[in-house]
């Protein structure tokens, strides 16, 4: 059978009959009725979920607060620090941290992150109007 090959056999009399008879013609004015029906469809508003969820914002905020807090709380000299925080003090020595934060790369990266965050907020608040079906 031609169906086994996945395509129709052009010699098949059924194909000839179907092709000759063609489509069943849609009633006159159907196109207009569909367009009119589409025009009366009630619209619904779909709120796109934000790319960064609220818990993630909280987590990011907490991390930033912790980082800033650490820069103020940790002394410049590490001699009086507990051993468990010595590594942090070493990394967060204020002159190094200040230089790191004020470098143009960090500022640009920060600005980039800020723009992406703003974009995310805008996308999150943006609504899209779809037809209700």
């Amino acid at each position: 059978m031609d169906a086994e090959r996945g395509g129709v056999n052009p010699e098949d009399p059924l194909r000839s009959l179907f092709q000759e008879v063609g489509h069943v013609h849609a009633p006159t004015g159907l196109e207009q009725r569909i367009l009119e029906r589409m025009g009366t469809q009630p619209a619904r508003t779909v709120v796109e979920p934000p790319l960064i969820t609220k818990p993630m914002w909280v987590l990011l905020g907490a991390a930033i607060v912790a980082l800033v807090g650490a820069t103020f709380l940790l002394p410049l000299s590490g001699s009086d620090l507990l051993p468990s925080t010595a590594w942090m003090q070493e990394w967060l020595r204020l002159p190094h941290l200040t230089a790191f934060i004020s470098s143009k790369w960090t500022l640009m990266a920060g600005a980039g992150v800020l723009i992406l965050m703003l974009l995310d907020r805008m996308l999150g608040q943006r609504t899209r109007v779809l037809f209700l079906f």
Binding site: M1, A3, E4, G6, G7, V8, D12, P13, L14, R15, S16, L17, F18, Q19, E20, V21, G22, H23, V24, H25, A26, P27, L30, E31, R33, I34, L35, R37, M38, Q41, L130, F131, F133
Partner: protein, 192 residues
């Protein structure tokens, strides 16, 4: 009208922006195709038109989901087939059979009531002897010239299931058409 001459991608782009010219072009181009599958499944003009309207409203509403890599006609056909089958199931729940609906005053299919010619009437009659799903599948295969793979995509049936339905439907149609078409017409058709 200019919108009638635009290609599918242009019409789709216009329709995505809510432009009625794009929507109109797509409806105009595919309304007979959609109406045909709706009619093959529903077997009456009233339900076929309702299903056709539903199909276009649905399809144009979720046009953004159409993957440009595939054929728009196949995507639309898939929506048409599923909408028609779903509508048929709803109708069957409301009534025990389509025959009962027609007895209750439903309008019979236009092509059955007013056959354009003998062969159209014979084809309609033969298709009416098949289950609705099989009639739609044969229409996809012989009229739209879809491959088995495309029919599988449209119907979500297995390839072997589609082949069985094609084989069974084809055999049944041959039997019915032999009885209803004059031998010379059927022979002529076979030779074409």
């Amino acid at each position: 009208m200019a919108a009638r001459t635009v290609e599918d991608p242009q019409a789709i782009a216009l329709a995505l922006n809510g432009d009625q010219r794009g929507q109109g072009a797509l409806i105009s181009r595919y309304q007979h195709m959609v109406y045909t599958v709706a009619h093959r499944v529903m077997r009456n003009t009233m339900d076929a038109e309702e299903v056709t309207q539903d199909v276009f409203v649905k399809a144009l509403g979720k046009l953004g989901e159409f993957q440009g890599g595939g054929k728009f006609s196949t995507w639309l056909y898939s929506i048409a087939y599923r909408t028609a089958i779903s509508a048929l199931r709803s109708r069957k729940q409301e009534s025990s059979s389509l025959e009962q609906l027609q007895e209750n005053g439903m309008e019979p299919a236009a092509t059955m009531a007013q056959p354009v010619d003998e062969r159209r009437a014979a084809l309609d009659h033969a298709l009416s002897q098949l289950p609705e799903e099989d009639a739609a599948i044969l229409t996809m295969y012989y009229l739209e010239e879809m491959s088995v793979d495309e029919i599988v995509t449209v119907t979500s049936l297995g390839a072997s299931n589609v082949k069985v339905k094609l084989h069974r439907g084809r055999k049944k149609m041959h039997d019915v058409l032999k009885d209803h078409l004059k031998e010379e017409l059927w022979t002529l058709s076979a030779e074409e």
